[in-house]
């Protein structure tokens, strides 16, 4: 019990951020029209590509003789980058069409 309390106390700031972010996430997209569901999902998909930062840290910290960490880290960086770049470009392509249509009106 004490350990659990201590864990919560040690991470109180992070836990606060997590809880506030949960509510923020709900609020921020609460009133999205269904037209934008797909682009929003795609945009959110790109944003969780922020996991790339973890991959960069893993890669950067790997000792030069630790081949498993090097290879896995390298894959992680590639996969994370794919998620970020692909995600944002696909979203932009979807939204580009909405914009073009607006101009013609």
């Amino acid at each position: 019990m004490e350990q659990v309390l201590l864990f919560i106390y040690d991470n109180r700031e992070i836990i606060t951020i997590v809880i506030l972010s949960i509510f923020l996430g709900i609020e921020v997209i609460g009133s999205v029209p269904s037209v934008l569901h797909t682009p929003l999902m795609s945009g959110a998909n790109a944003i969780h590509g922020v996991v790339i930062i973890g991959a960069i840290i893993v890669m950067g910290k790997a000792e030069p003789d630790n081949y498993i960490a090097l290879v896995l880290g390298f894959f992680a960086v590639i996969l994370g980058t794919l998620n970020v770049v692909g995600g944002f470009v696909v979203t932009d392509r979807m939204l580009e069409m909405f914009k073009k249509k607006k101009k013609t009106n």
Partner: protein, 476 residues
Amino acid sequence: MQTHLLEIIYLIGSITFILGLKMLSHPDSARKGNLVAAAGMILAIVGTIFFYEDADHNKLGNYIWIFGGLIIGTVAGFFAAKKVQMTAMPEMVSLFNGMGGACAAIISIVELRHFFHHYNETEILGSSYPLLRGDIMTMVLGLIIGSVSFAGSMIAWGKLNGKVKDFAFPAQHIINIVLMIGVFALGGVLMFSGITAAYTWMYLILFVALVYGVLFVLPIGGADMPVVISLLNSFTGVAAACGGFLYHNSVMLTGGILVGSAGTILTILMCKAMNRSLLNVIIGSFGGSSTGSAVAGAAGDIREITMNDTAVLLSYSKKVIIVPGYGLAVAQAQHVCHELEKALEEKGVEVKYAIHPVAGRMPGHMNVLLAEADVPYPKLVEMEEINPEFSSTDVVMVIGANDVVNPAAKRDTSSPIYGMPVLDVENATTTIVMKRGMAKGYAGIENELFFEPKTRMLFGDAKATLQKLVAEVKAV
């Protein structure tokens, strides 16, 4: 100094993600929102590479590897995203989502191995000391959620591009629940085991999580894939947040949790659009084994109509509503469809599009496709608004849509799609259904609409048929 700067960069990154999501949910600012979030992401990545220091003030190394990975990923991601057909967008999103999940899982594996190795070597705690620590817990969670998201997304991707078929297996719910509980139980076992056994538990967790991801998505019907992708999307968000927890990295934490919660809400909104609960989607295995009942219900004669009659009928109507579906998208017929609309407008016919919330393969997918073909925005009318208009409509053209116009959703309580809101096309004077053949829709059920006395069938490939129809209409 540099670490302080990095914290501020991360703060800016977090703000851009919040702003980006906010702007993405409004049509006017959506595109800018995407760019704002992308800018924040680039800032966070560059900041991490150059300013990151660990607890002992060591900077990152292996720059060649980092930049190599970034370049390969950027080039591959950019071209994949630029080249993909608009119709294949949903599976692309699923694929990228899987990449993110795999990335999170790999981070956990490397960090866990690092941790085990470190503790084994220093032997501060002895080899049998339980690994009951918060950071181990987040690593294990990241491993589980990331792996499930990766495996699930790959199956969803395969299903959407037709490589993987729906597959229901006996006792699937029980097996899946056991697997889900099992994988978390294994995580608990790892935390209470000694360091020597931990490697084995870690790989076992990875294996079970991958199997669970596959079996979790496999029985869910293709029609529910958007919901599943959205759900897996929020999973990956949580997996990314686990990484943020591990590194005490604020931008990973806020980004991941934001996507986790926003993704969950989006998933629920999508379920609502189909009038189903999330639980129902996950355990219902829609379109799988439970659809046998509806087949017997609808049968009878269908009435075909010729191309020429269709053209005449359309040209002398006052009001035509086009109901586009995935069939139109697959045939790449959205541009020809727009031509038909223009040809009819020149003859003074009022043309509108009825957009079902889940038309296509994802909510909003059809809007994107028609926008690509330059169809003006005010012509795309959402379901609630257009449903009262059908009774004053002369002709409804259903192009490659099926389940979203099935009246069984309103009448037949035994139908698997009962309760799903549908377009009331049967209220129009005449309904013309343009289809390749009598194949069933994605839900795998018969459509009573095709046998209604007011319905006419026009068989053929959507694009070829529409092209001929445009010529005929112009000739009338």
